[in-house]
Every structure is written in structure tokens, then in C-alpha cells.
């Protein structure tokens, strides 16, 4: 009887109380409520993706913070290095593994890059589904434009993922089960990305994305063209599914369908470079103005990450990370005394010669540093003097443990930056027109034509004498012009120097087997999705 009473009571109370247990949040809302108008659909399904171009957390963002895509494309090359400085910058061998190409599939930073790229790919795919779900709010044209922009963003992230990891999965929908997610060959991913960008480009606004205005920070048509030019230029690499052998397809034989015409890879690259020129981009007279605190009006920059310490969260750590402590301190902030230029970069720049490249002074701190008319001094009262030629992988026993290496200058110092200098107002330059000219020069040379005009346009802006557009000269020019901009790994792979001896880098065993031109699929990703096959060699 007691138990019956108990059972009944429990039942009665359960029913009456369950209704008191409904949740009615007030500081968060159901997902469907944010897609209530065409404008909010744009803001929350399209524009929201731009949160992930830049970053304020390590491992995220296309550029700006550390241990992410930029570092894996820069500190793995002949351009820059993070030496061990005594107790600093050992970090479990992370930076040495980058420089020596001895990374492994278990590196957490590599997995963070994977997660970041695919987060944006998944969120973009979800945005496409959302736009379809709420298409009643949109005109057909709006729907097409919204979807085109999302697909362009997604293609951009596939491009970075394919560039780094080679064989990667193409996601069909967000409802896809893990068991059904499989990789495609690199060439298939490449074709998919090219096709996506070619399809959506006409629907994107023909506007300059770097200018403050309605298109600020967005993937516009010239941005898509820029990506298409890059894809075509690297087509030999990207269509090579057996990258560990010595051979790769010939760019002249790789055919693209460009607006109904068949063009080879080099012609295709030139085509998109020319389209970009027609959109009104040109070289700035002053190289440095592209990297000024207020560089939003540059007619050279094509795609940038908007930075504004008062408005946005994006950060830029590279100056902060490179400068000596006293140097950052002199600006009223701080610094981490880390990255520096390699000996190779110094040599190409003609450091120590009678006539160095003019961009040496613009891109590097190479000696004493003057701030407010005074030399920056160390604790002992002597002036800080960087030692560009004292670079070693491990500086612990060096006399120049703290000062070895030329440091990053490139971007104008924003004295009002927040967060010890990590939050300046300079927009981070991702794509710019000088690169377009150099791409065109290279494509023409590779297609058996002359690239002198384009190469020397870039050189003469820098006040440098003309040179013949040979491939070797173009590779060096790319270093001179585009140093610290995150392109070096891709360039070296395309030019075939990535697995060779360079700077103070001796090829690793993995380099000799050529499998380091892609990174391994992170072991954690494979553990969670056993379908994913490891890249050869790893």
C-alpha cells in the first residue's frame, strides 16, 4: 500500500513538476530566430564567416596569430626562422621541426590548423543549407549572390587545406556521417575548387575588398580571380597525385576551361591576372604605404584582414613576436624576441653589400634601432643592435643569443596599438597586386614568353634596376617583394627547392623522399575518422 501510494505520488508529482522544468533562456535565442529577414540572413549566414579570416587565438586565422597557417608556410622555408634563444623559443622543438621539416602527424599545432580550416568549411556548408532553408526571405538573385559569396569563402578554405594537406575530404552536407567522409585525390580537390570559384565569380561583386565601404573585408570577384590565378600557377603541383616521385604534370598540358575557351595552366594564370588588372588595381608608388597603419586606401591591396583595435578582435602578432624586448618596450608595449630573417634572406637582399635591395630597409631591422630620435638600449645601457648574420638554429651558446637575426619591420608601427602591440590598426595584407604581376611574369616565362615587363614593374617601383625574368630571378624577387607575407612555402614547392638544401637547412630524410611537400593528415583527425588515409611517407 505504501509502495502504491509512493508510485502514484511520484507519477502525479512528476507530471505536475515537469512543466516547471522547461527552459526559457533570455540571453540566447533559438537558431531560427536569427534568420528572420534577408538582411539578418546575410549577417548571420554569410558575413559571420568573415569572423574566421583573421583571429585573436593561436592557431586560427589565415594570418595574424602564431602557430597557424602562416607559421607553417613561413618558418618552414628559407625566408624566416625561429631560433632557440637560450630558454626561450624551444617550445618542445616546434620551431626546429618546422625549419628542419621534421614535423610529425601528432603535432597538435598541425591538428589545430586542420580543425580551423574545416571549422570554416563546415560552417560555410551549414550556411549554404541555411540560405536554402530560408530562401523564402530572399529574391532569387539575393539567394544566388549570398550562396556565391559563401561558396567562394569555402573554396578559399579548401584551397588552403588542399595546399597544406594534399588529399582532403570534400564535405557534401553537414548531415553527412563521419563514416561517409572520405578523402579525394589532390587533383580532384583542385578541380572542385577551380570549378567552384569559376562558377561563383560572376555572381560576386566586382569591387575592391580592401577599401572601407560596403565590400570591406569581403570575398569579392577580384579576390576569387586572385585565387584562380594562384590555383593555375600551382596547377602542376596541385594536379600531381604522386608527389613523392620526381615527375609532375606539365603546366602546358593542364587544360582549364576559361569562359568557354581552353587554356593551359600558364595562360589561365595570365588570364586571371589580367582580369584583376582590369578591375583597377595598380602598384602604389610607395611600397610601405601598403603596410601603413592606415592602409585601407591602398590601390594595390586586394584582400586584407580588417584590423581596428576599437572595433574588431583580429590581432597581428608578428611584429610583437619578432622584436627584441627593449625594442617593443621603447614603443610602450612589449615584445617576445623571436622570429628573424634567415641568412638566405639577408643574402638575397644584399645585406652587407654596397648596394642592398631597397626593400631590405623597408622590411627589416638590421642594426641599431632608433625610436623617438634615440637608440633603443639594452639593460646594460648599450644600444640594441640586431646581428643579421649571427643566425643559428640554436643560439643558446651564442654571444648574440638575444640579438641575432634581422627582425620584421614591414608594417608601420602603430604606437597606439593595444595588447602590447598585438592590436594595431594596420590591416593585414593577404593578397596584393605586386604578387599578381609576379605571378604573371612567372606564368609567361613558364609558358615560354617574356615576363620582363611585369618583373621589372615590381622592381622599378622599389627603385631597383631591371633584371631578366628568369625563373631564378623571379623566385628571388618573390622573396624580396613578398617577404613576411606567407607565400614562401608554396613558392619553394613550385620551384622545386623546398626539399633541397637551402640557407642552413639540410634536407631531412623525409625531404629526400619528397613527401614533405604536403603535411601529414593529423593523427587525431585520423583517429576520429579512420577513413582518412595518411599521406604517403608519414
Amino acid at each position: 500500500m505504501k509502495h502504491k501510494f509512493f508510485a502514484l505520488s511520484v507519477l502525479a508529482l512528476s507530471l505536475s513538476l515537469t512543466s516547471c522544468l522547461d527552459e526559457t533562456p533570455k540571453d540566447q535565442i533559438p537558431e531560427q530566430n536569427i534568420y528572420d529577414s534577408a538582411n539578418n540572413l546575410y549577417v548571420n549566414a554569410v558575413a559571420s564567416l568573415y569572423n574566421y579570416i583573421g583571429a585573436h587565438e593561436e592557431g586560427e586565422g589565415l594570418q595574424g596569430t602564431c602557430r597557424g597557417i602562416y607559421d607553417y608556410n613561413t618558418l618552414t622555408t628559407d625566408e624566416a626562422i625561429m631560433p632557440i634563444r637560450g630558454g626561450n623559443w624551444y617550445d618542445g622543438g616546434l620551431w626546429q621541426n618546422m625549419y628542419n621539416h621534421t614535423w610529425t602527424a601528432t603535432d597538435t599545432d598541425l591538428y589545430n590548423v586542420w580543425k580551423y580550416l574545416y571549422k570554416v568549411i563546415v560552417l560555410s556548408t551549414k550556411s549554404l543549407e541555411t540560405i536554402d532553408q530560408y530562401k523564402a526571405l530572399l529574391t532569387d538573385r539575393q539567394r544566388d549572390e549570398y550562396k556565391a559569396e559563401v561558396r567562394a569563402v569555402r573554396a578559399m578554405f579548401y584551397y588552403y587545406a588542399m595546399d597544406m594537406f594534399g588529399r582532403i575530404p570534400i564535405l557534401e552536407s553537414t548531415a553527412q556521417k563521419t563514416a561517409d567522409i572520405r578523402q579525394s585525390e589532390r587533383s580532384e580537390v583542385f578541380s572542385y575548387i577551380v570549378n567552384e570559384l569559376q562558377t561563383v565569380a560572376p555572381l560576386l561583386p566586382l569591387e575592391h575588398s580592401n577599401l572601407q565601404g560596403n565590400y570591406y573585408g569581403r570575398v569579392t570577384r577580384p579576390v576569387a580571380w586572385f585565387l584562380l590565378a594562384k590555383l593555375a600557377l600551382n596547377a602542376e603541383v596541385y594536379t600531381d597525385n604522386n608527389w613523392t616521385d620526381a615527375s609532375r604534370p606539365d603546366g602546358k598540358a593542364i587544360l582549364f576551361n576559361v569562359d568557354g575557351t581552353q587554356k593551359n595552366a600558364w595562360q589561365t594564370c595570365v588570364h586571371y591576372c589580367d582580369l584583376i588588372a582590369t578591375a583597377g588595381y595598380s602598384l602604389e608608388n610607395d611600397y610601405a604605404s601598403n603596410f601603413a597603419v592606415h592602409n585601407e586606401n591602398s590601390k594595390e591591396n586586394i584582400f586584407t584582414i580588417p584590423l581596428d583595435k576599437m572595433l574588431y578582435l583580429n590581432e597581428f602578432h608578428y611584429l610583437f613576436r619578432s622584436r627584441h624586448y627593449a625594442h617593443g618596450g621603447a614603443y610602450g608595449g612589449a615584445s617576445e624576441n623571436g622570429t628573424c630573417a634567415t641568412l638566405h634572406t639577408m643574402a638575397v637582399n644584399g645585406y652587407g653589400t654596397a648596394s642592398p635591395d631597397t626593400r631590405l630597409e623597408l622590411n627589416f631591422y638590421t642594426g641599431r634601432v632608433e625610436v623617438d630620435g634615440k637608440y633603443v638600449t639594452l639593460d646594460d645601457g648599450t644600444p640594441l643592435q640586431y646581428q643579421p648574420l649571427a643566425v643559428e638554429q640554436n643560439l643558446t651558446a651564442s654571444k648574440y643569443i638575444e640579438t641575432a637575426g634581422a627582425r620584421m619591420k614591414k608594417y608601420e608601427v602603430d604606437r597606439t596599438a593595444y595588447s602590447d602591440g598585438r592590436m594595431p590598426d594596420n590591416d593585414i595584407v593577404l593578397y596584393r597586386y605586386a604578387d599578381v604581376l609576379l605571378m604573371k611574369a612567372e606564368a609567361k616565362v613558364r609558358n615560354g614568353e617574356s615576363g620582363d615587363e611585369q618583373l621589372n614593374a615590381v622592381r622599378s617601383r622599389a627603385g631597383m634596376p631591371s633584371l631578366a625574368a628568369t625563373l631564378a630571378n623571379i623566385l628571388d624577387e618573390r622573396l624580396l617583394e613578398l617577404v613576411w607575407e606567407g607565400w614562401r612555402r608554396q613558392d619553394m614547392i613550385r620551384f622545386g627547392t623546398y626539399c633541397e638544401p637551402y640557407d642552413i637547412h639540410t634536407p631531412s630524410d623525409a625531404d629526400k623522399k619528397r613527401y614533405t611537400i604536403v603535411f601529414p593528415i593529423p593523427e587525431k583527425a585520423r583517429e576520429l575518422n579512420p577513413n582518412l588515409a595518411q599521406n604517403p611517407g608519414y
Partner: protein, 897 residues
Amino acid sequence: MKIHQKLHQYIFAASVVSLQIPASATAQVQELNVQRDTISTYLKIQNKGIVNNALDVLNGNAAGVNVTSNGMDRMAQLSSVRVRGTTSIVGGNDPLVIIDGVTSDIATLSTIYPADIESFSVLKNAAETALYGSRGASGVIDVKTKRGTGKGFQISYETNIGLEAMSKKLDMLSADEYLATAKRLGVYANNGGYKNNFYDVITRTGFVQNHYLAFSGGSEQSNYRASFGYIDHNTIIKTKDYNNFVAKIDVTQHAFDNRLVGDFGVFGSTYKNNDIFDPQMLFYSAACQNPTYPAARDVNGNWTKNGSAYRINPPSAVLAERSDQKEMYFNTHMRLLYKLAPSLNLSAFGSYSYTSNENSEFCPTWVWAQGNVYRGEFKKQEYLGNVSLDYAHTWGSHTLAAGLSTEYHYLERTAFWTRAKGITTNEFGYNNIGATASRPYGATGSIYEDQSLASVMANASYTLYNKYKLTLTMRGDGSSMVGDDHTWGFFPSVSAEWDIKKEHFLSGFDGINTLKLRTGYGRSGNLGGISAYTTMNNVQQTGIVPVNNTPTVTLGTIRNNNPDLKWETKSTFNIGGEIGLWHNRLMLTAEYYYSKTTDMLYSYDVPVPPFAYDKLLANIGAMSNQGLEIGFSIAPVQTKDIDLNVSLNLSFQKNKLLSLSGNYNGMNMSAANITAIGSIDGAGQNGGDNNHVLYQIVGQPLGVFYLPHCTGLYKDEQGTMKYRIEDLDRNGTIDFGDGGDRRICGQATPKATLGSNISLRYKNFYMSLQMNGAFGHKIFNGTALAYNNMSSFPIYNVMKGAPERNIVDQNVSDYWLERGDYLNFEYLTVGYNVPVKSNIVRSLRVSCSVNNLATITSYSGLTPMVNSYVVNSSMGIDDKRCYPTYRTYSIGVSVQF
């Protein structure tokens, strides 16, 4: 047992804070009429010397209970309690606190004036915690406060006043030694011309005073009690202090021929704490600032900074950082108990609590570029209603007690905060946040959150011949926060007790006065890992981007959503007994328990793609805890003039993380088998894998040291000493990474803890000595690692002896992993009960005490009493943040009228 208790009451007869087992049924447990099967859970609130916090009283007095300071060493304020160890990773491990029937928390308990507390009961066994259902898994502390006695007007006053003095600091190089060492090594060191010991610069003689006034009056029919307490503590760190003011009123009224009893209570407290903003920065700076630098600013108002030192700052400038907290707590509650029939009671209880917490932070531009100003307000309102029916009847040799009750609990949290930077002057502190340049997106926020819990409880207990007892309980909890399919969780328990002494075969045996056996099994839950709305597919702001040239906040999902979340469940089995010999002057208790947490919440890794985010909170893993608790007390001498009583509790505890993987909704999910939780921070330790120290490893206790093995020191080419690291996997390279050349070499949690008290009365004099100890664990002496590393010299000062040791290496290894065993003499109190013969003064007592008398340990750091219990990034790691140890000397007066 009776004699034993009387002894205590006799010893502390004059003490206001004496122990009484509450006779009235005031809390849910009594209403439910369940036999508490915990042994000696009632703690003696003895004269502990100076007591600043109610948690001090618990410390060392109950087996299986560890009181600690969350993330700080024990010299800082106590703020966390662990009952029988850690049973959850993300679920929150602080026990549920019930104060006079009102659900509360550790923070509120620590604001209650200790003298207001009549008793603590720590509930940890299966049947007891099952009664608290989804909130009982981490144990329950049931607190009874004092009420009117009904014995006419009484007034009492007590006070304690004490001084605190730093008793130990780290020995760093003096200014002369610093300069001499630099000269000898041929390195340039700035000579600021001063000779400072920065520990002395940041410390002072602490002062603490407590005052407590209580009065009560009325009759058996109708009575009241009111009390006021005030605690003011200027700590040994300059400018850091806290105070606590509490007031409490309770009224009891009997009516209708005593068939109705009404209790009404109001409690309020305000607590102000000016805390250290960044203990590591402060103590690191005090130890390592160049000792030739000035303590104060120069004539131009500038601090002398060492430009290359980026983890330390001038200590006096660091002291100017503020982290202030103001907490206001208010509670009112009422209970009506109506006797429906001689064996049937109906009771209704209602309570309302309001907590307001204001946090303010300020960092001057001397320490933070652009400064940092923060204000936050956090409010909480809690409603609790409970109706219960109790039945108890005895006929012949049978006794039946049963209860049925239902409860509804509603909690609402709101908060608002803003952080700003870009300050023009340091003079405003945090008081004028309008005078700042920047309050960007993400720096200001507010939240609203509510949650409700509905419960039904039933219990029955049957006793035969007054010696066999069987108890069954069942609690059903419905929570708003779990997934819709799991709203209700059921938590049953069964327990049995056998009073062997009452058996015929022992009745004639005078040697044994008490002999009991008890056992129980039950389940309880933990909801701490889930917050409100976690199971809903809701959206919040995801960031800010330019849209049409306007900064625009975008909305979207910010995590993978799991609509199937449910409770963590903890099943406990315990068996124990007690035996009393020699007229119970020798008591021995022992209890073994085993508990297993299943459906353990954790953020498991999921594949990206198809998920957008890499973690999913889910119920998969398992963890076990087992232990043995032994209590012992003896009263070897008991005469008219002399009483001696020695008591001791000892607990052995073993935790194991059983699993963090499994199948969840058809998907294999797992978390890493090896996850770093704690690492060394500081100069030259820039993140990375190499400085991890403490890990969470499946198959091991939570919080194990997993370190490279150092076989000794060797001299390198430069003639400096390095740690020689063994290539454990013999692959020819030394890998400091998580999966590299590391091995498990000890745990952070003590395997055994000890609490012991010796009390002696000689006529009107009395003495009490408390000792606490912990054994079987390790501490990573990261402070010594850093302060012996000569590669940071002369930018950072080093310890005495470091130049001679000449170690230029900062890699973590087991070289600095030390045994953490200690025995601490918590306090010694000597008192005198003044024999007053007055009609007005009923008793007068004076006493003097020394707290934190001495520590016996082989640990070479400042104190072995670091955070060894709370699993977080500071656990088991002494990392440059240790409060200098101090001793408190106090006198106390207590008078009753």
C-alpha cells in the same frame, strides 16, 4: 559514546562554541527519518585559536574531508572542500552545503561566523548522499546554526585579537651577493644602488580581530536568538585585507498545545575582500626583482624596470593591482511543523536567498600597457520549497519510520560586467570606468540564466528489537538542464545497521560498551558539468565583422550541441563499524567505501568534419574512488582535576580515472588518454609541450606527475650544469613532448591524510593542540627549478646557492619532484576558565593561541601545503606563487552573562 561526548562538553563547558547533537528535526534528513550511518560526523567546534572562516573549523576534523584553497596554497584563504576526493572531471566537486535546511554553497558557508554554528555533519556515505540525489555526489555538508534555547535571557560576547608575522620566506641573493655574482660571472648587472629584500617590501605585520555578540531569550514556547559577528583581517601582504560582517536572527514559536512549531530565521552577511590580483606575478616579482632596484618610484614618478624581464615587475607596482570583491548574502526561511497525529508530522519549509557579488579589478599602466579596469556584478536568487510528511511508530519490538517529501528549487543568475583599457591616469582605479578609451566588443557582457530542480523523496526505515535496522530511500530529481529525454533521474539507496552490543551474547560483557556494524549502497548524481540551456540548439554572438561599413555582431552556434545530456551517476558502497571499550573511553571506528562515477561528463573529441567544433560534452567516462577511514579517540586520564583526550582520524584514499571513451549515439568517442593539466609558467617557459608537469591519464589517479627522468647533473661544454635526461624509449633522441621520454612518477593527491587533536584540562586550565598531515604525494618544486636556473640571471634574481650549483637549464624533469609528506601543527591553544562567582557573569574564559605553529616536512620549498586536492592547473605544482608562510599569535576572551 555518551560519556565521551560529555567529556568534550565538560572540557569546553565554558566555550560558547560547544557541540550539541541537535535534538530538533530541522533539516530534510531528519524529516526523512533516515539513520545517518556516518561515524563521528559531528565535528567538534573547539577552540581553534583564531578562526577566520567557518571552513577552518572543518579542517582536519573529519576523515575524508580536505579543506583547501582553490588554486592557492593554504596560507591564502580556504575556499574549497573535497569530500572523499574528486569524483568528477568537469562536474564540480565542491560538496553541497545545507545550512538549516537551505541549499547553499561553500562560498556562503565560509561567510558564516564560526561561533554561530552549532554543528557540522559531513555526509559522505551511500544512503546519506543518495538523499540529495542529483546534487549529492560530491558529499554534503549539513550545517546547523544555533537557535534560542528557551532558557531565559542570555548574552555572550567573545573576541579574538591576533598578530601575524611572516615566518618563512625564500632566500634569494642579497643585493651584495647579486652584484658579486654578476661580477664573478662576468655578466653585466644593473646596480640601482639599493639593497632591498622585496619580500620585506611587500609584507607587513598582519592584524586580525574578531568580535561576536549573541543574545537569546524567551521560553520553551516562544524564543529567539540574535547574533552579530565581525571579522577583520589585515593580511601580511600590504594593502590586502578582508572583512566580514554577519547578522542572524532566529525565532521559534510553539502553538496549539505544541502541535505546531514555527521556525523563522533571517541571515545576512557582507564580505569584502581586497585580494591579490595575480599572486604569481606578485611573489615572483618579490623573489626575482633585481635587489639593487628601489622599492618605490623615482623622483620623476617612474618605476625602475628591468626591460628584459617580462614576467616580473617592480613589486610595489604589482601591489597596486587590485582585485576586490564585495559579496552580500541574504537569506530568510520559515518552517512550520504540524503534528497531525502522535506519530505523523507534516512540515512545510520555504526559503529565499539573494547573493550579490561585485568584482572590481584594476591594473595600473605601470604593469599593464594601457591599464586594465574591470567591474562585474553577479547576482543570484534562489527559491526553495519543501513539503514533507513523516511517520514514526513503535509497537512491540518493531519500529517503523517513513517519510515522503517533495521539493522545488529554482535558481536565477544574472550578471553584468565590463572591461576597459586605455586609461589616462592611474588615479581613478576602477572607480571611474568612464575615463577609459576603449571598451571593445567582447569586453562587456551580461547573462541571464535560470534553472529549476523538482524532487520527490520517499524513505522507510524498519528496526527490529532495537538492534537490526534496514533503511530504504528513493529520490527522484527532475532538472531543467538535462536533455528532454532524461529529465528525471532516480537515486535509490539501501542501508543496514546491526547494533551487536544489544545482542544477548554481549550484554554481559562489560569490556565492550559499543559495537555496531553498518553498510549501505546508494546512488547519487552530479549536474555540475552542465549549465543551463546547454542542451538547447541556441545561438549567441559569434563575433564582429564589417557589414556595409558598419561593425556588425553576427549570431550563430558556438559549440556542438548535445541534446542528450544527463546526470553523472555515482554509486557508492560502504561498510564500517565502531567499537567502544573501557566505558567508551576508547573508541575506534573504521569504514571502507568504494564509489564509481559513470556517465561521466567530459568534453570529448569529435571529428571535424562533419562537426564544426572539435569538442562535444557527453556522458561517457568512468572514475572510481575507494578509501578507508579510521577514527580513534582515547581518554586515558579522566579525573576530577585532569582530563586528557586524544583523537585522531586517518583516511586513505585512492582515485582512478577508469575510462574516457565509449560509444555515444552510435559514434565512437574518446578523449586523449594523456592530457596535460598543469605546467610551469614563467620566464623562458613560453608554452609548448616541454613544460607540462601534471597530467590526466586514463588508468591513473587524476593528477599524476608525468615527467622526463633526470639521472643527475652533468657539466656541458660551457662548464655549466645541465639536467641529464634519460632517453626512456631508447630512440636516440630526448623528446620532452607529451608522448615522449616521460614516465609517471607520483601523484599530486595525498594517499593518506591525518587529523589529530590532543586536549588536556587541568583544573580550570586547558590546552588543545591540532595536527594535520598528508602523506604519499609529490610536489613539483617549480619555484626552485626557476629560481635556480642561472640562465635567467641577472635579469631575474636567483636563490642563494644557485650560483654555486651553476645550473643553466630550465627543463622540467623529476629532478625537482619532491615528496610532499608533512605534518603541520595547526594551532596550540592554552586557556583558562576564570572561576567567577557572580550573578551577572556566568562564565569567563581567556585563552591564547598560536596558529600555524610549525611544519615537519622534507619538502624544500616554502610550504608543502600547496593545492593538493583541487584538480586544476595549479594542483601539486609549487610555481612561484606561494604565499610566504606566517604564524598568528592571538588572545581570546569569551564571556557569558
